[in-house]
Symmetry: C2
Subunit: 115 residues, 2 copies
DNA sequence: TCTACGTTTCAATGATGTTTGAAATATTGA
DNA sequence: TCAATATTTCAAACATCATTGAAACGTAGA
């Protein structure tokens, strides 16, 4: 369960255009992730700058890294992204369940029914 | 539907400890909101500093303000918070529906079944 | 071992964000 | 109109963040 401090770190990490694009790209890449070089090209940022942002995202727990030959493969940290959504929903629903309805509706359109 | 730019602004706004506490407090306060003075006390921040953060949150569309006598009442902008959750979920589920399962489970524990 | 490749680290620079206290503004009630 | 209350604006100081290019590092193949 994500605490307030972790949530602040995660939000701050996502509150930067390049970084948000990076995690979006990694999420769409799926569990296979993407090598840093390809990511840099996809996001349109220098290798140096990408490295800076990836370190930032990594500190926030939003991405993971794994060396693979001479490249380094990055992946979205799905559990932590999930935890962040839950944090937002916990807050958002607190005492006001109806607030979540739109989110629930969105879920229905993007996901299959949960078990 | 929230776009990437709005999402960056919202995340950046929430990625600051004082501001996150402010919106959490406003969310728990419900639709009635809270006067600035009470908020300042609740969050433990000077009036001046609170004003700065509220302006920031307001720019990001996360809170609304309404004068009421000599106080100003602030409220959480539920629709925008909801839209932010949806943005995260759209990304998160993209091509990987199973990622949302924990979020769905969380929904079940905090919200009634949607219509 | 040498060279090329992919990535990170470092140091410098400029840009933004946060906090503070004093002063200004708006509202109310005497 | 005056004084009190609630909040914001302003300017200054400080801290943090983003970007850049050069250099360093680790890995792979000739």
């Amino acid at each position: 369960m994500m605490d307030e401090g972790q949530a602040v770190a995660a939000f701050a990490a996502l509150g930067q255009a390049h970084r948000l694009r990076i995690v979006r790209r990694l999420v769409t890449a799926g569990p296979e992730g993407l090598a840093a070089g390809l990511l840099a090209e996809a996001v349109g940022v220098s290798a140096t700058n990408l490295s800076f942002h990836l370190k930032e995202l990594s500190r926030a727990g939003l991405v993971t890294a794994q060396r693979e030959g001479r490249s380094i493969r990055y992946r979205a940290a799905y559990p932590d992204l999930s935890a962040l959504i839950q944090f937002l929903m916990r807050d958002c629903c607190q005492g006001r369940p109806e607030v979540c309805a739109p989110a629930v509706a969105a879920l229905a359109t993007c996901c299959p029914e949960p078990a």
